[in-house]
């Protein structure tokens, strides 16, 4: 179960990354579920997560985009 779900579907650049960065900083560690609708947003969110020391542990295609799980253990 994720600590928080971020729905970034339909948002244009750079809002998905801004939302995810903000929540990663707020949580410091834990699990984030992120929903995006484009491949660009998926790649941008992955890149931002790695930059902040988070890991993308799951990526799956959904009906209208992708569901990603980001984790940071410590």
């Amino acid at each position: 179960m994720a600590d928080k779900t971020i729905d970034a579907r339909g948002l244009s650049c750079p809002q998905p990354v801004l939302l995810v960065m903000e929540n990663m900083k707020k949580l410091a560690k834990g699990t984030l579920e992120v929903l995006v609708d484009t491949d660009t947003s998926r790649e941008n969110v992955s890149r931002a997560a790695r930059m902040e020391g988070w890991e993308v542990t799951q990526e799956e295609k959904t009906e209208d985009g992708y569901r990603m799980i980001l984790e940071k253990k410590n």
Binding site: G10, E43, N44, A48
Partner: protein
């Protein structure tokens, strides 16, 4: 999830470098000086070719622009990334497109051309790029304040096809009404007999260049505004490294081709009014930031089925018509008679859209 090689650091560098090779070659083969590729100028020329404005020296239905959209469309279909979407504040995006074009035509170029002008030795580009970065920085302040034009939503396939179909239709017109030596019109299309509009690479070369760049840029998400924005907002160099590659490679290719002429005065299709070069690109940069992409990126997204980007593109084309019909566009002699007033109105519109769409406390 399959990896996308062109979306890696080296991928984006490769794409920037490819544009850095192709643009000076297009210039060598006939396109205007330091304008091998310029999204704003080329959309302005298309507006002229269609008679939306009647500035005789900038009328040509540029195949590169059609290629950008159709190349991006092909790549998106091939890699299953064609996602028809839209409905996020279309009229605001249309106005942002118009404002972006008005700013770009005060400077005389889009961010791509600003980079190519720099790579050709035009020092005035430094002022334009400084203005561009300032405008994007203002945009990041809005983003930090919660700026959003709202969500887009999925649309039907036919809706996503609108802009690619428009470009295919324009290509049919270009094929049906080719330029005729010494004539300012062919069928329903207008052609320049002199000036930048008369400088053109062969049709097939221009179209192929556009298609190649369209495919590469769709896969890599190449975006010049995004390069500067991400550097300011996230200290991230990813997209910025593509811009650097473009300038460095274009500079080397220009040196090889004898197209590097350093200086500020008498640069091709440019003026040296520093303040207005700066302010023009500041307004354009803010408009690109608020709309989420540089003019090239908007074309590539339109090819992926993004109607909001398509509306921005249409706004730019109509903005070009307004800029030339109302004396807002600059010329090598300097800013147009109403250029400064137009710029002030465009800045006002951008700030109004920015300030009234801050959605968080």
């Amino acid at each position: 999830m399959k990896g996308n090689v062109l979306a890696t650091r080296w991928g984006i560098v490769l794409v920037g470098a490819s544009i850095g090779v192709i643009a000076p070659l297009l210039q060598k083969l006939g396109n205007p000086a330091n304008m091998g590729i310029c999204v704003a100028c080329m959309e302005r020329d298309i507006a002229g070719a269609l008679g939306l404005h009647r500035a005789g020296v900038v009328q040509y239905l540029r195949p590169e622009i059609l290629g950008f959209v159709l190349g991006a469309f092909l790549a998106a279909v091939l890699f299953k990334e064609f996602r028809p979407r839209g409905g996020s504040a279309p009229v605001a995006r249309f106005f942002l497109g118009m404002c972006a074009m008005i700013g770009a035509l005060v400077f005389l170029g889009c961010p791509w051309r600003a980079l190519l002008r720099l790579a050709g030795g035009d020092g005035n580009a430094i002022l334009g790029l400084a203005g561009l970065a300032t405008g994007i920085w203002i945009g990041t302040l809005f983003f930090r304040g919660g700026y959003s034009l709202g969500r887009s939503s999925p649309q039907s396939k036919s809706v996503g096809l609108m802009i690619p179909l428009l470009m295919a239709g324009l290509l049919v017109l270009r094929l049906a009404y080719p330029p005729v030596e010494g004539q300012a019109a062919s069928g329903i299309l207008f052609y320049s007999l002199q000036g930048p509009g008369a400088a053109r690479a062969p049709l097939l070369v221009s179209l192929a260049a556009g298609l190649i760049i369209g495919v590469l840029a769709q896969r890599s998400r190449f975006c010049t505004m995004g390069g500067i924005r991400d550097l300011i907002l996230f200290r991230q160099l990813h997209l910025f490294s593509g811009m650097v590659a473009l300038v460095v490679v274009a500079w080397v290719v220009n040196l090889i081709l004898g197209q590097f002429h350093p200086g500020f005065e008498k640069q091709p299709v440019a003026h040296s009014q520093h303040l207005w070069n700066f302010c023009g690109m500041m307004v354009a940069g803010l408009a690109f930031a608020l709309a989420g992409g540089c003019p090239g990126r908007q074309l590539f997204m339109a090819g992926e089925g993004d109607n909001d980007a398509g509306v921005f593109v249409l706004g730019m084309i109509i903005g070009a018509a307004i800029a030339h019909n109302f004396g807002l566009a600059s010329s090598p002699q300097g800013v147009g008679p109403n250029g400064i007033a137009g710029l002030a109105v465009a800045m006002g519109i951008c700030l109004f859209i920015g300030l009234t769409n801050l959605r968080r406390s």
